[in-house]
């Protein structure tokens, strides 16, 4: 598979004006300018192959949008190099734009004052979209995103969710080779989110589009992406498969038991020792509830046996941390950067 994106040691530094708070601070800043350097992205290296669906995540300010801006060419990196479809984005912005689709969740490309249909007509001409492609992408958008009733409405009268659906369709109308989707499901209800994900899947299947998806809704990632890149404070924290991510950051499974009899401190100590011998850890306990964690495969049976012997559970559930929990945990306490697997070009 061809490599369509290659970022090598990519970095972007901003200067931010430092200002004391309040009106006095604003006045002082008129005469005394002080700046601080913000390293939005540092030493970021990764590649993306044609047809891959990559999820780019990170907490607010992690550098996701800055990375997307550099990949699309609207922001010039301060260090490193980047290539998209063999072009240096910042130097070939217009040319590259013909082959990429971009959704910035908060910045619609739809013409604000006129009906949605007119933007589609403009983009059709502007991107010189062949009739056969337009019929498929536009038809698919009408069907999957339920756009038909919206086409005659001026964009300014659409709800956020309606606008997002139209904007996504507009961005993928020319069946781009690479789609950068920055928060494409922002403001959508659960059903609309599912429709959007299905539409992205459909376009990817049909045209082999490479998708770089930035989102805070991790369901977008688990439903669409096969690979995950996690940024933290502008640096690469993880690059690999979703399974690899779960394995690395959440190998633990949990048993949550509801007890019939009240658990006392002394019984909990005994139980904790028993569970430890079985290979698990009593993570927490309340009078009628226990949380046990274990990591290795095959430990569950031993732990359960010990639990049934030492306590009297009326019910228990076994669960594994979902990706959202892992990410939440990771944002609070980041680990060092890792690659799940080497990314070959």
């Amino acid at each position: 598979m061809k490599r369509v994106i290659a970022a090598e040691n990519l970095g972007r530094t901003f200067q931010r004006r430092v200002r004391a708070p309040g009106l006095w601070g604003a006045l002082k800043a008129l005469f005394n300018s002080r700046f601080e350097e913000i390293h939005a992205v540092r030493g970021l290296s990764f590649t993306v192959k044609a047809g891959e669906m990559l999820g780019l995540i990170g907490e607010n300010g992690a550098g996701k949008s800055t990375t997307v801006k550099m990949l699309t060419g609207i922001l010039v990196p301060t260090s490193g190099r980047v290539e998209v479809l063999g072009l240096e984005p910042a130097k070939n912005r217009s040319r590259l734009a013909l082959h990429i689709g971009v959704v910035f969740g908060q910045r619609p490309q739809l013409l604000w004052d006129i009906p949605v249909r007119e933007t589609f007509d403009l983009l059709r001409t502007m991107y010189a979209i062949p009739e056969s492609v337009y019929r498929r992408t536009f038809g698919e958008a009408l069907r999957r995103l339920d756009l038909e009733p919206l086409l005659r409405i001026p964009v300014r009268q659409l709800s956020l969710g309606q606008r997002m659906r139209c904007d996504l369709a507009a961005s993928l109308l020319h069946a781009p080779a690479v789609a950068f989707l920055d928060e494409p499901t922002i403001g959508l209800d659960a059903i609309a989110k599912e429709e959007v994900r299905e539409y992205i899947r459909q376009i990817q299947r049909e045209f082999g589009t490479t998708v770089v998806l930035t989102t805070h809704d991790l369901k977008d990632i688990t439903e669409l992406c096969t690979r995950l890149v996690v940024l933290h404070h502008g640096e690469l924290l993880f690059d690999g498969s979703l399974a690899g991510f779960e394995h690395k950051y959440a190998p633990d499974r949990r048993i949550i038991a509801t007890l019939e009899e009240r658990m006392t401190a002394s019984r909990a100590r005994v139980l904790s020792a028993s569970i430890r011998r079985s290979g698990g850890i009593l993570r927490s306990w309340e009078p009628y509830r226990l949380v046990i964690e274990y990591g290795e495969k095959g430990v569950a049976t031993r732990v359960l046996r010990g639990l049934l012997r030492s306590a009297s559970p009326s019910d228990f559930v076994m669960e594994r941390a979902d990706i959202e929990t892992i990410v939440r945990r990771l944002y609070r306490k980041p680990a060092t950067a890792t690659r799940d697997r080497p990314v070959k070009g």
Partner: protein, 276 residues
């Protein structure tokens, strides 16, 4: 990475730009009422200019080689041209830079400057239609003095007006780029408006200016937006000098467009699209 990444052909680019002109015009029709209000305000300000000059002309007779009827005809045509040549795209883009929405403009497959020319063209077509009220009222009041000196003058003045559009756009494009640094159009477009008001010949023919002001007016490109086309229309530029005047306009337009492109390429190296 050996992937064929074609660009738009020149014909496709032209189609794209024409489509942009059409879309902008269409968007303007959506806000026609706002334009009427703007035009009404503009007309009131022109009436004030006419009243001031009416008083001056009454007491002094001709000014700057213009007889009173010629002078008023000049002012009407200057007002019409100024109301027709749109500067709206600058303000729009300033707002888009401030809010970071410019990102979507920068990600179009056509050249950014050309796209803004197309948008400005769309606005200008709309404003030409709306501002037709000025020559119509002027003709009712002044009659034939508004007519071109000859069909040849009319043709040359139309060519000059087209070049005036480019000069106007290229000045605006340069001013607009200051927004990349200061992040708001406030102050920038006030300065640009004042320079246009003073140096373009909107308030009076440049020949009527005091010597120093006239000297600066002739050094700057603003006169090619209003004074040159209107003077050609009225036959105030000798026939032999008309090609030279058109060439000067064309050189200013080309020079400013090129400088604008260069400044833009530098600005983009430092510009940070606002917002996450």
């Amino acid at each position: 990475m050996s992937i064929q990444v074609a660009a738009l052909t020149p014909v496709q680019t032209l189609h794209a730009l024409l489509a942009q002109v059409g879309a902008t015009l269409q968007a303007d029709f959506a806000y026609a009422k706002s334009m009427y209000i703007s035009l009404a305000t503009t007309i009131v300000s022109y009436i004030v200019i006419f009243l001031i000059w009416g008083f001056v002309l009454k007491t002094r007779g001709g000014v700057g080689g213009y007889s009173p009827p010629e002078f008023i005809a000049y002012l009407v045509l200057a007002a019409w041209l100024s109301a027709s040549l749109s500067t709206r795209v600058e303000g729009e883009m300033a707002e888009r830079v401030r809010l970071g929405v410019v990102a979507t403009d920068l990600l179009k497959p056509v050249d950014f400057q050309q796209m803004l020319v197309a948008r400005s063209c769309g606005h200008t077509v709309f404003q030409v239609l709306v501002a037709m009220v000025i020559p119509l009222v002027g003709f009712t009041a002044l009659g034939r003095s508004l007519f071109p000196a000859s069909p040849w003058n009319a043709g040359a003045a139309l060519a000059s007006a087209a070049l005036a559009f480019l000069v106007q756009f290229s000045i605006g494009f340069l001013f607009f780029q200051a927004v990349f640094v200061v992040h708001t159009g406030y102050g920038i477009f006030q300065s640009r408006g004042m320079l246009h008001l003073v140096f373009s010949g909107l308030t009076a023919p440049i020949t009527a200016f005091p010597d120093r002001l006239r000297f600066f007016s002739e050094l700057l490109p603003f006169r090619h937006v209003i004074y040159t086309p209107v003077s050609i229309w009225l036959g105030r530029v000798p026939a032999a000098d008309v090609p030279g005047a058109l060439l000067a306009q064309a050189l200013w337009a080309a020079g400013l467009l090129l400088v604008g492109r260069w400044v833009f390429s530098v600005a983009m190296k430092y510009h940070v699209v606002q917002g996450g």
